[in-house]
Point group: C2
Chain length 344, copies 2
DNA sequence: TTCTCTACTGTGAACGCTCACAGAGCATGA
DNA sequence: TCATGCTCTGTGAGCGTTCACAGTAGAGAA
């Protein structure tokens, strides 16, 4: 009766029927045990669980899905260009976090990379056909046609970071960008800096805008006029960090600190500063944002604003499951935290 | 009859029955059209395709899987510690490549991260229960208990890189490590270096061993005795590259080149050399391995050995699908290529 | 006692598809 | 003429679940 290995081929797995026979009960009872165990006598439940263990039974999700109409799986949709995915370890952190959070609910994750236009169409079709119950959406520029379509089709959707152009009926989980930026700039002031530059994130995204707003607010509150020559745009990529740093050095050689809107850009900034012979933090302090793995991979290690990735992942999953369960969309804003390391 | 959007809720999708009615044929005929179109008259096929388009029909994979016993999906199994996944962009390249290759066959990918022991058990169960048709296995230290179990359960399996301890009955796709190493060391000789050190990969993996072997072979062929003080072990991680470089500099200050068994380690090496005031490539040439995104993210950009990631992905998928289709396991070795950049 | 309510159990039907089979129509060859 | 083979089509069964429903048993109330 054991389902042991050794055999080369794959044998036919036991069904709910086998379990029922083995436990001396009916299919219905087994099914009830499988689905929460309500209205089942303790004796029956035990017999069933025993039988499940003995037979090595695992539910056939296809059969279940066929009748329930749910797939009990969700999609992880990444609408970023490949290069960004290859470069930025934040995606891995998020992907890993969400996968684990879902695993604890026994829900498999389908990975969907929306690159080409064809891909997008294929993926949209796949999702709207009901092959997943919901979607975790990750993209920095999230004014996304795919997202738009999914929302219209009524597919449960949770974005990472506040999406734009999707109205208010879409869930999202985000860190408190403005507050994080404020903390960082305040910290730079605290360590005695006064000529504080900023390399922003993409300003067509709420995150980018908020981080910039926090920067300006704190400076203004401190009685320091915002010097537009000290603010240069970036797009979170390492290359844009390098470009930004070069521009900053040219426009404001007397810079004594930079707040960089992502750790990845900060990595680029550090490289440029080193080439330019500016010591960090002695000559110029550098503050990042994200606390991505990149922050500690670099010397000096980055002082940065921690986005609580683990909580972001688990919240995304929680909100998505709630929404699949019929609840209304929700927005979750999580607090950030200043992590002081060697670059300030 | 259109399936158009606008409605907030999800309506019930059309079934094969609806398509059949719409096309004036039977379910069987529609099914035949869906599955390759053999034994279908051109007229019927056209009518069916028209009806599919009109109704917006998408096959219900659960129903199909229930009867075929296939899931028409595969798992991408990563048995690496999280930190490695976060640090090494090679995983992203591979993940992305495989996902796309599978997408072109209309096969979804389930992401499986085997972290904790519990996770491993859960995943093994999931897979052996037949919820995926096959598994793409990625791990550097692949003497893996999960892999072992899957192989014994007869699950189609393709590893990236030659796995150890799994006998010969498991498929794998790998780059020609030895040959790549030979090319690099020959190149270092060609540019006039004679004191060539090496930081190896993990020596409990075939890849690590082969790259070391290639290094030794070429030196010997060139009449240069292998100096064991010039060879230090690494594990592909950036940190181990830094440690290795420091050890090398201490043991052999007269070093004029290093062959580093991964780009990620090389990144660490470059940092150490820079701190030590050694100019690259003037004082010391650095050769990497992988041609990962890390290679060009660094200054000077790395001369490295390109692993053909795109071909590796597509071959892994091809071999897996073949094996799912009943063919025997196969080993594929792909050629590498020297990519000369600024570090040599 | 009898009736009601609750806790529990078993039984068909159905989910949407594929597969095996039977059979129709037509051409070919004996 | 009939048999044989081919292409094409429709039909019923069944994949492994869940769900609605019917039904049983026992406790408590009337």
């Amino acid at each position: 009766m054991t389902m042991s290995s050794s055999a080369g081929g794959r044998r036919k797995p036991p069904t709910i029927h086998d379990v029922a026979r083995e436990a001396g009960v009916s299919r219905g009872t087994v099914s009830r045990v499988l689905n929460g165990g309500h209205y089942v006598s303790p004796a029956a439940a035990e017999a069933v669980n025993d039988a499940i263990r003995r037979t090595g039974y695992v539910v056939n999700r296809h059969a279940r899905s066929l009748i329930t109409g749910r797939s009990d799986s969700v999609g992880f949709l990444l609408t970023e260009p490949q290069e960004r995915f290859f470069e930025d370890p934040n995606f891995n952190v998020l992907l890993s976090g969400c996968t684990q959070a879902l695993a604890s609910h026994d829900i498999p994750v389908l990975l969907m990379l929306a690159g080409t236009k064809d891909e997008r169409r294929r993926i949209t079709r796949y999702i709207t056909a009901g092959h997943v119950d919901g979607v975790l959406l990750v993209s920095s520029h999230s004014g996304d046609p795919v997202a738009q379509e999914l929302r219209e089709a009524g597919v449960p959707l949770v974005a990472c970071g506040k999406p734009i152009g999707l109205g208010s009926k879409v869930s999202y989980v985000a860190a408190d960008d403005r507050d994080g930026a404020r903390d960082m700039v305040r910290h730079l002031l605290d360590v005695g800096r006064r000529r504080i530059g900023m390399i922003t994130g993409p300003l067509d995204t709420p995150g980018g805008v908020e981080r910039l707003a926090g920067y300006k607010e704190v400076l203004t509150e401190a009685g320091i006029a915002v010097d537009e020559a000290l603010v240069v745009p970036g797009d979170y990529s390492k290359a844009s960090g390098e470009a930004g740093a070069e521009r900053l050095l040219a426009q404001a050689p007397d810079l004594d600190a930079v707040f960089v809107a992502s750790d990845l850009m900060a990595q680029g900034v550090l490289a440029v500063l080193q080439r330019a012979g500016r010591r960090v933090p002695d000559d110029i302090a550098v503050g990042g944002f994200d606390d991505s793995p990149a922050a500690t991979a670099v010397t000096p290690q980055l002082t940065t604003i921690r986005q609580p990735w683990d909580r972001i992942s688990t919240e995304m999953v929680r909100v998505l499951l709630a929404q699949i369960g019929g609840e209304d969309p929700a927005a979750v804003i999580l607090p950030t935290e200043l992590v002081r390391r060697d670059s300030t």
